[in-house]
Amino acid sequence: MNPFDVLIVGGGIIGAVTARALSEYDLSLGILEKASDVGTGSTKGNSAIVHAGFDPVTGTLKARLNRIGNETLEPLCRALHVPFRRNGSLVVAFTPQDRLELERLLDRGRQNGIPKLALLDADALHALEPALAPNAVAALHAPTGGIFGPYELTVACAEVAVANGARLLTDCRVVGIRPDPAGEPAPDGARFTVTARTHARDGSLVEETYRARFVLDAAGVFADDVAALAGDARLSIRPRKGEYLLLDKRQGTLVSHTVFQAPGPMGKGVLVSPTVDGNLLIGPTAVDQDDKEDTATTAEGLAYVLAQARRSVPALDTSAVLTSFAGLRAVSSGHDFVLEESPVVKGLVLAAGIESPGLVSSPAIADRLVAVLADAGLPLVRRADVRMDRDEPVRFRELDDAARARLIARDPCYGHVLCRCERVTEGEVVDAIRRPAGARDLDAVKRRTRAGMGRCQSGFCLPRVLEVLSRELAAEEETLTKKGPGSSLVDGRIR
């Protein structure tokens, strides 16, 4: 097989946005992702906040790329039809001590070049957000703060990259990266042999090898392990869990801004924010752990989140909880993004330590990674035949009746509402499966269409989505999964 010019390890937001950026050039690209879908790592379990940029330490990559990303993320989301809303953010102070903290953040924000920051007094604050606790005394207002859909962007970018010719290999865990011996240029021009483990049809594990000129390590919390596979053992990444609760849309308008708490001796505080889909999100906790795959929520974590969120918004209705989830921050020992060619292994490019503000910075990180690759010798020749945007997916629930009628006349599948809570039609599910980098399991359909994300949490639509997946993938329903190998939904047929 021909070698890949760039083999990206990890299909999180960083891998996907970078893959899209690289797909503009005449390159052969591969993305290896261990999960059954893109965007299921940290990219799935986070606050989804477009940070304004007053928080990172001045002078760091985080500070710079956050500021740039805050501007460039919006046009990227618009081009790809990914939900984005600049709802503004507030950091709320409850004590005089907190107030000093706000002033420190304001200062830092100004140094970081963040526009339009302002301190609000209690009256202005409560006029803006009436549901805030009466004892909130002041706030730092950042109008450029926003919210967006991180995995929607990841899926969209993967889709563009695949449409432009990139190969996406899911259920493909990289377990070996062997650089060719130095001084012996291989006939295929590649430098690495990459071994990945995948499930065969019968469920057994098999290994495949790939050749690559450049390896881009975008493996999130595993970036240190992946770099070590290639021979660069300098990195150390420690997972830090953050737990969240997602509340019903009835609670989605309780606040309109993203409400942070002033950081204090108690920690960074808990945020209360609307989501782009109209739900309310509260969290996260921050607890260090060793396990890089443990994203279970805990009784203590969830209780903490609820109690803290109530401090900001006392009227919060805890009976409106839809679900809970957790994500892992990739905390690096240097506390800044690592975006460089490995000084130890030539051709290995690192995207490591991408903790918050990794989402908002992602377009800027991708640009920087493209530049790093070019500096390392990757030739970038623009292609004429590529398309960097995509067709807008139908969102039935947002259409008016006239538009719905036209759509159903064109394809009756759009008249069949599969998910009653989020009003997702069969047509949307079919489209999510058929698109490049399409859905292969229940959770992938859910992330693309929202089918199953509503009040009934897929009780109603699950059998119906299974039917469509089975038909579209020509697979028996018993073989379908929630999220890839090992997560089968049913145990055989009756009789």
Binding site: A299, G301, S319, I408, H416, C456, G459, F460, E478, K483
Partner: protein, 463 residues
């Protein structure tokens, strides 16, 4: 199909073709409504019944023990005979006052229906209910495959022929969970235990006996699941005993390996449409606030069945829905009479508007020991074209298990004087079984004259 929005006009539109919808529509026709249309989102009528292949339906209504599908068939035939029209594979997406007239407007979609704007003089809400989920319980842990609500598992098993799993724990002792315990045992699965956070079973006593006891399946009361284990697929649950406030007691944790967790932790009336239409809901029932004609606060809109409040027996659903259908037919007639001028002479008749009453309606309130009451209001006087009903059934659920007890409706007058309107004695009463008390004749007249009515239960509560 044309790409235009279709328009249709009917007297009574019924949302949902379950037992409630079928009975409401049939009885609307019987009460004289000319054009009655049931809109059902599924490809068949019957609501939840087609997946309830066990017996236990129709004992009251037909005096014989039927399966769910058989019960549904009887009502489907009755509806057809009465001249009810059914529109399948069509989901109602919105409801509100008709901007082009005094009636109501529904918007519905379906693959062959396209987009339909349905204009109706009266509407019956019969959307049924949905199941409470893991999120509502806030169980921490992983999010693996293998966790289903009991109704979803029932659909998979009985309609799709798919086996949810082999080693099963059921959380919640609602009827659906009990029935699924038996069903899956019969299919060869091992049901390890049914757990219930309350000190008593949630479902009907007969179901506890026939579905658990007869199969030797343990029911563990005052017990809940405190943690889910398994990253890809469920591998086990951690259970714990709970104290009187339903808080897990540390030290009582028990790990149970299993591949499936079924949740049977309650039903919630389906009222997205009603809520979006601005119809006030009762937080206790989760359904619309109604008067004795089952009319909601949006004039011309009536509610019944599980969309109004969760029932345990389908027979009572049919009975309640019949009343809603009849009220809807009367309302539709009043609207059309008004439109044709028959009632024009009477200046007080504003047919599409709220019932004209001499003053605010009488409120029915949950008193001691009672959790939910339907209806929540009683009319004081007739409105034009809408005579007062001469018999009212008050349905309610009690809040705890009672031994010997007395159920009571008490009229409370403006000065606080109390007068008992109706009573019934029970040797035992449980929250899992809906109670009712009737009002007619002088008692009903006294009720309509009261300031409010209290529904209460008196006796020994067992927690």
């Amino acid at each position: 199909m044309s790409a235009a929005v279709h328009e249709r006009f009917v007297d009574v539109a019924v949302i949902g073709g379950g037992p409630a919808g079928l009975s409401a529509a049939t009885n609307a026709r019987r009460a004289g409504a000319a054009r009655v249309l049931v809109v059902e989102r599924d490809v068949r009528v019957g609501g939840i019944l087609p997946q309830c292949i066990h017996a236990g339906f129709g004992l009251h209504e037909f005096g014989t023990d039927l399966t769910g599908p058989e019960y549904a068939d009887r009502w489907t035939a009755a509806a057809a005979e009465a001249g009810v029209e059914v529109l399948l594979d069509t989901m109602v997406l919105s409801l509100g006052p008709d901007p082009d007239g005094g009636g109501l407007l529904l918007s519905a979609v379906g693959p062959s229906t396209g987009v339909l704007h349905l204009h109706a003089a009266a509407v019956v809400l019969a959307m049924g209910c949905r199941e409470r989920t893991r999120g509502a319980l806030n169980i921490p842990g992983d999010r693996p495959a293998g966790i289903y609500t009991a109704g979803t598992a029932q659909r998979l098993t009985n309609l799709e022929g798919l086996m949810p799993g082999r080693r099963i724990v059921i959380l919640g002792s609602g009827d659906i969970g009990l029935i699924m315990a038996r069903r899956l045992t019969l299919e060869g699965a091992q049901v390890i235990a049914v757990l219930e956070v309350l000190p008593y079973a949630g479902g009907l006593t007969r179901n506890v006996v026939q579905c658990l006891d007869d199969f030797g399946i343990p029911l563990r009361l005052s017990t809940t699941v405190v943690r889910i284990q398994g990253r890809e697929h469920l591998e086990g649950v951690v259970t714990a005993r709970v104290d009187a406030d339903r808080r897990p007691i540390p030290g009582t944790e028990l790990e149970i390996p299993c591949d499936t967790l079924l949740l049977s932790v309650g039903l919630i009336p389906e009222n997205e449409l009603s809520r979006d239409a601005g119809i006030p809901l009762d937080p206790a029932t989760g359904g619309a606030v109604v008067d004795e004609t089952l009319e909601t606060a949006l004039p011309g809109v009536f509610a019944c069945g599980n969309a109004l409040h969760v029932h345990d027996l389908v027979d009572y659903v049919s009975e309640e829905a019949a009343a809603a259908g009849k009220s809807a037919a009367l309302h539709a007639r009043a609207v059309s009479d008004a439109a044709s001028g028959a009632l024009r002479a009477d200046p007080a008749s504003a047919p599409a508007a709220a019932p004209v009453a001499s003053s605010a309606p009488v409120r029915l309130a949950s008193g001691p020991g009672v959790r939910t009451v339907v209806p929540q209001h009683l009319r004081r006087a007739a409105a034009a074209g809408l005579p007062l009903v001469d018999e009212v059934k008050v349905r309610f659920r009690i809040a705890a298990v009672f031994g010997a007890c007395t159920l009571r409706l008490t009229a409370v007058s403006a000065d606080g004087t109390r007068a008992v309107l109706a009573t019934a004695r029970r040797r035992r009463a449980v929250p899992g079984e809906m109670e009712d008390l009737g009002l007619k004749g002088p008692a009903l007249a006294a009720a309509r004259a009261a300031a409010s009515i209290e529904v209460s239960v008196e006796g020994d509560a067992h927690g």
